[in-house]
Amino acid sequence: MKSSFHTDTTPSPKKELPRISGSEAVMRSFLAEGVETIFGYPGGAIIPVYNALYDYRDKINHILVRHEQCAIHAAQGYARATGRTGVCIVTSGPGATNTVTGLADALLDSTPIVLISGQVASKTLGTDAFQEINFIEITQSVTKWNCQVKRAEDIPAAIAKAFYIASTGRPGPVVIDITKDAQTGFTDFEYNPIKFIRSYQPYADVDNDQIMEAVRLINLSRKPMALIGQGVILGGAEQELKEFLEKSGIPAASTLLGLSALPSDHPQYVGMLGMHGNYGPNIKNRDCDLLIAIGMRFDDRVTGDPSNFGINAKVIHLEIDPAEINKIVYADVPVLGDVKQTLPLITKHISQKDHTEWLNEFKVCYNIEREDIIEPAIARRGPHLRMGEVVDAVSNEFDDAILVTDVGQQQMFASRYFRFKQSRSIITSGGLGTMGFGLPAAIGAKIGSPERDVCLFVGDGGLQMTLQELGTIYQSEVGVKIVLMNNGFLGMVRQWQELFYDKRYSFTELTNPDFELIAKANHIPYRLVEKHEELESAVKEMHQSEGAFLLEVRLQREENVFPMVPAGAPVTDIRLE
């Protein structure tokens, strides 16, 4: 059988090449790719790689997590905070299968990840050996690419290919499964970065006709709206976006993952799209005559019923992944390519405009929402603390922090009420909606961006899914600020049960452990806050404390996120209560 990559790794006969183990080749390949931090967990089939890592401890910072799922979530947090490829190492069998959730999450949220998994020795492959699992087959549908390496000499080329594929085009997770004998075998080492694969063309050639057609539609449009997606952040096109918006005067809304690409206080920013997004961008969807989707993929949480999405609008879709064009919403003008490249071409040719009247319509919507939803949500009201109020207080105290969320009500409250100043300031599991993502992702984000504050909002349910990572925080001294939104419920499911299932709270109530004891056991400073008047000082204390902090907020037990578009309904059916 042929190996699954095509770069010739045969060393040139003239050069004297160092002869090293496959495991050391992994380390040297990492260094050649500029890897500084890896997240991982050792085990039998990866011991040789860990043995090599022992000699590279001063060059590569390894974070020992407490569960492999968290190695990959931490790598995701790292990648999304820094824009670099997140790297993790796990062993075969259970070590590998534990990462599947993270791979799926990274695939759906387009996060560049290189995962090295150990594998049993090649001669025992297919014998149901101890901790053997067919990881290539398992990860086929949750990776951008994967391959198994059975010879030490194939390791450098495989890793080079992995980094190239993970980080280019629409980024995604890549798995390299390395058998134990490949790790212990010896090879001449030479590293050649890969920048070309004939079967993989990550950047389409820009089609000027489509650019000009987009320009024509934009110039004609009276009620256009820009839909900002994570593609802007992944392409590093924040400045290009600003220039486009400021010349065109077009109002811009953001998807959940596109948040922070445009600062929250930008005058043309009209809020978040989707199920729990802002009122304006949803209710005005029917009035739009042009939607300009910029690096977003029309997720069903954004479109509601796609057949009613932008029903009176033409659609320009700027997108790097050809498979996203016409997948959910038909694109009248598809503009393939990296938005960093395509947006300026459009900006150059459009006429300078301002859509003041149209923007004012969004302001009217915002005022309605502010009065009906926002102010009541963030106000000190009722006997108990509520989520909006807490997010607002944290956002006030932490100027320009990275927001990390878990999944559920706190995720929606946080993304609605947290204010963003610079790009790469939100890390949240959007596509897969992985509970338990928050804590390990926050660890990765803080390690990747130690100079920035990292605030995690996590529910009592989500925290307990990956609670063991408090041990990682202690061991690796990771200064994550954890805001535990404790309402004793799996809040989002409870909200659905309340609204759509006659309040039949089937298994959504939690009897919780003593989080203070848990924090103490992990040597993490802790404070409990239950009263409105203590909130500000508690948040301040968390901010001022050195290193990690767990702030437990006891909340009103039942609270709902609004506005809300019922699942599958047109976005214009958005409910304010």
Binding site: M1, S4, E137, W145, K195, R198, Y200, A323, N326
Partner: protein, 180 residues
Amino acid sequence: MEKEFIITIFSENTVGLLSQITTVFTQRNINIESITASESAIKGIYKHTIMVKNDPEKVANLVKQIEKKVDVLKAFCYSPSEVVLQELALYKVQRSRNVEELVRKHNVRILDIHDDYIVLEKTGHREEIVDLYHMLKPYGIYQFVCSGQIAIIKSKRELLDEYLSYVNEKQKRMMENNQI
């Protein structure tokens, strides 16, 4: 409206490639009517021919998802009228005068003759193969096997060649600009 489509996929010859392709079908719950794989006219490149029956839009999206696989060079989708289709079938049947008459009438090749059975080969369209099956059935079919359909496009252009020359040009340009 469900229609028949022929998807041809050109790929590198890598381990697990077939499963990479079929996973795209399973995820969308699209049934594969038939599948064949072989080396193509271009060295080192494999050609897969897959028949599906589904809505045109679903199939168009499916093809893009297949092409998204890193080791897939290109995937094309055709309607049956755009290609020449053939299929091969083997029948092991009881020897009889009637069978031998059918052999002469239907342009069937005899591959093997024994005292008590005869092995026949028929190449043709799916309908011809099915028809022959029904004609032979009364005389006793011991075994029957049928290949998947294979297809060659009617257009003179080989679309993969165009892709490969585009890719080679691109690589050359990148090398000249020291990008690789």
